[in-house]
Symmetry: C2
Subunit: 214 residues, 2 copies
């Protein structure tokens, strides 16, 4: 039986053999990695969708915003759903002054409002803000938080939204979050990540906590 | 045929019927939501694992750190893998001064070093830093970025690591990131999210870009 990865290297002490095997394995990995990097040459503003039932859709979008801010860029955030909780991320982004443009839909729509007309009007106002920020060349990344929920409830016209996102200016990155991303949006996107729940602390009776859920 | 959700409400104009249906649906949803929230009473420091092949494992961890910072808390970050790229998030966290304690493993281990002994020593030094930060009561959240990679390569002892994480002080939240989380870590965790790839721009030849990948 020949096991390439565990083939003995004759005449060397064990530790040196391990070292040698490791070096060969990592050199191979580096070659693959370098070739993969070299094959990718396109630069473009991405349409990114974070969906699925798991955690991390919004936090990953905000982590990306933070990364962009670290490069000295400006970011925009439009929140399409607004709970009663005050969220920590908004306060944290205040540290970046006018490099973060934040728009949370008035009182927002949720199961809290129970008012269809008000919800639709709020979604449309937020969408108008999105169009304004998409046209602003100083913005490098735009986070459309929970837009998928507004689309799911048909508060906004899907074709209109997807059409505008597809027609975004060159170089603008847009991140859309929320469960149940519409197939037309997935189709138009460059990067779609599905956050899946493997294990959730809510199932063990743990409540939403400051700094974690809000 | 009876369709509950589309049952006509007699003697009212169409718009009012829609409004009424919406209100009833949302009221029901709110009742479910409120009952769920009320049923959860436990508060505890969570062990969170972001794993899977998709994007967002590290960015979601950093988004959570940002949320925590927004509440005036302190966070620690220990990076177990370090590429040649300068990352934007580190510069962004500098805005929070000494409320972020950042430790990137010296030169770090990757397929770039190709030196097993150096990699193990670097992983052990990073782990020593983790133990120090876990013992610091001023830290509310600790991000152990790419710890799963160090565990996968057996640079650190799995039992030792999981044992220490389980024994963390009350109230400390820890987020571990990286592909291929070990089953023992998943078992010990409160919240495990699997980031799955639905669609990736690298497959379309798009390269890693500033503010997105680094």
């Amino acid at each position: 039986m020949t096991d390439i990865d565990n083939k003995p290297i004759e005449g060397k002490p064990i530790e040196d053999r391990d070292e040698e095997r490791h070096r060969a394995k990592m050199a191979k990995r580096k070659a693959v990695q370098d070739a993969e990097v070299a094959a990718k040459t396109i630069e473009k503003g991405l349409l990114i969708v974070n969906t699925g039932p798991g955690k991390g859709k919004t936090t990953a979008a905000f982590g990306l915003a933070l990364r962009m801010l670290g490069h000295g860029k400006r970011v925009g955030v439009v929140q399409f759903i607004k709970g009663k909780w005050h969220t920590g991320e908004k306060d944290a982004f205040a540290a970046f002054g006018d490099r973060v443009v934040w728009h949370a839909m008035g009182e927002g729509f949720t199961w809290e409002t129970q008012d269809l007309k008000r919800d639709i009007a709020a979604a449309e106002a937020a969408w108008a803000k999105v169009l304004e920020l998409m046209a602003d060349p100083s913005i490098s990344l735009l986070v459309l938080d929970e837009l998928n929920i507004a689309l799911r409830y048909d508060y906004l016209d899907l074709d209109k939204v997807v059409g505008a996102l597809k027609a975004r200016r060159e170089g603008l990155h847009v991140v859309v979050t929320g469960r149940n991303a519409k197939p037309a949006l997935v189709e138009a996107a460059d990067l779609v990540t599905e956050m899946g729940v493997t294990k959730h602390h809510f199932s063990a009776g743990v409540k939403a906590q400051q700094g974690i859920e809000f």
